[in-house]
């Protein structure tokens, strides 16, 4: 049994009470102003705190690498055999894809498609996860000083990871595509039907607002539509695993398995300046030539 504090002076109690009341009133009366001030003050604080964060993250990565290296040796022969088989299969597939790519290139040139400008990207490392339990986020080791801003899209070579929601001078918080509070404009690659991809509480995603007449089916891939900021068109989001069609509903929806396993993401690319097509480009309108 322990004696708990009984010694705080009367003045301290009064001061604490007054502080609590002032702050509560401040947050109630001037929420956005106070939040702005704290957010701005947080930028340098975030920079300072990013150092212990990076140090702990690098120690953790070192231990993880050591363990993975040791564990990998256990089944290395079996894995090697499997990889050889996979390599043979992929070599065959590669030649087919080269053919398809060459055909696409020819057709693209033929149709005089305007080549999509590749956005500039910044590579960043994942150094942590959300400090709370309410949101699914990851923390990156780059922030405002590296040119990152809220609303920028984050991807890997496999597909979409999420969107930046908060930045400090040296870190950024990325809300994952599997979080129910995230929404990304999506497109079913085969049928070209558009919708909104939202995360679910189970860590998956679903595509909402698919037209009733759409022929979407299980196994269809969903990519970014590029209509609203953050992401250019054609980045993989996920694969449809189930179609939900309710009687009387105006739209159908689909459950997706995300392409990127957010729990294993270690490095990401942040899209700095996404290519956003104009309405004319989107609808395929001919460009107007200036009068000579």
């Amino acid at each position: 049994m322990r004696m708990v504090n009984l010694r705080a002076p009367y003045n301290a109690r009064r001061l604490a009470f007054a502080l609590a009341v002032i702050l509560l009133l401040g947050f109630l009366l001037l929420p956005s102003q106070l939040q702005g001030v704290f957010q701005q003050l947080g930028s340098p604080v975030g920079w300072i705190l990013s150092w212990p964060l990076r140090a702990v993250a690098s120690v953790r990565d070192g231990i993880a690498d050591l363990w993975t290296g040791y564990a990998a040796l256990q089944g290395v022969e079996e894995e090697n055999r499997q990889l050889r088989k996979e390599l043979e299969y992929l070599q065959g597939q590669n030649s087919q894809l080269r053919e398809a790519a060459a055909a696409t290139e020819r057709l693209t040139a033929l149709l005089e498609f305007k080549a999509q400008v590749l956005p500039s990207m910044i590579a960043a490392q994942v150094i942590g996860r959300d400090t709370g339990n309410w949101y699914r986020t990851i923390i990156l080791n780059k922030g405002e000083s590296d040119g990152l801003e809220p609303d920028m899209g984050v991807i890997t070579a496999v597909g979409v990871v999420g969107r930046i929601v908060k930045t400090t001078a040296a870190t950024s918080v990325v809300l994952l595509a599997t979080d129910p509070n995230n929404a990304i404009a999506g497109l079913i690659q085969r049928t070209r039907d558009e919708g909104i991809v939202e995360g679910t509480t189970q860590g998956l995603a679903h595509l909402k607002y698919i037209p009733l007449l759409s022929s979407a089916r299980t196994g269809d891939r969903v990519v970014t539509s590029g209509l609203v900021g953050g992401f250019p068109r054609g980045l993989a989001i996920g694969t449809i695993t189930r179609i939900d069609k309710e009687e009387g509903a105006l739209f159908q929806s689909a459950e997706l398995t995300p392409e990127v396993d957010a729990n294993r993401v270690e490095e990401v690319l942040v899209i700095q300046s996404p290519y956003v097509p104009t309405e004319g480009e989107r609808l395929g309108a001919p460009s107007v030539k200036p009068k000579s």
Binding site: A8, R13, A20, F27, G128, G132, N133, T137, V173
Partner: protein
């Protein structure tokens, strides 16, 4: 000196919470070590220290989370203040009482967060209670109780504190 200790505590808790604790999460829920720290600081340091450490920790933690800055500060600050008030009313604190206190406070803070956030249709109150609030409260209580037992019983910190005060 005390202020420096609190700064070190805050700077140390952020990497623990965001880098190490996700590895011990169960069903995607991890304990809120910041909440536990604020409760203990409030209990043993009084309401002013509880409030200030709670506000600072809430602010700093919100910089590394998608959570609303205001709400994080107000919740943790409030918990620190209430813990300070509770510490004034309680003469003796057993580990069991601390565990129960942490469980109830974490449940209340979690419920308040769930009601205030109302994130979207999918995350209703029942989901919040089942998936986040209750598991986190249990986690907080167990980790808080274990920390208290470890620090006060094993490391005999109270003796150091009384020697320091003397």
């Amino acid at each position: 000196m005390k202020a420096l200790l609190y700064v070190i505590l805050i700077a140390g808790l952020v990497p623990i919470q965001s880098v190490l604790l996700p590895h011990v999460s169960v069903w995607g829920v991890k304990p809120d070590i910041g909440f536990i720290a604020v409760c203990l600081v409030g209990l043993f340091g009084g309401e002013l220290e509880g409030l200030l450490v709670g506000l600072a920790l809430g602010w700093v933690m919100s910089l590394f989370s998608a959570e609303d800055l205001t709400f994080s500060m107000v919740t943790k600050g409030g918990v620190g203040y209430v813990a300070g008030l509770a510490g004034r009313q309680v003469a003796h604190l057993t580990p069991v009482a601390l565990v129960v206190g942490l469980l109830v406070t974490s449940c209340l803070a979690g419920l308040l967060t769930a009601v205030a956030l109302k994130p979207n249709d999918e995350q209703d109150l029942w989901w919040a209670l089942r998936a986040v609030v209750l598991p986190q409260a249990c986690f907080d209580a167990v980790v808080g109780g274990a920390l208290y037992w470890l620090v006060w019983n094993r490391l005999n910190v109270e003796r150091w504190v009384s020697e320091y005060r003397a």
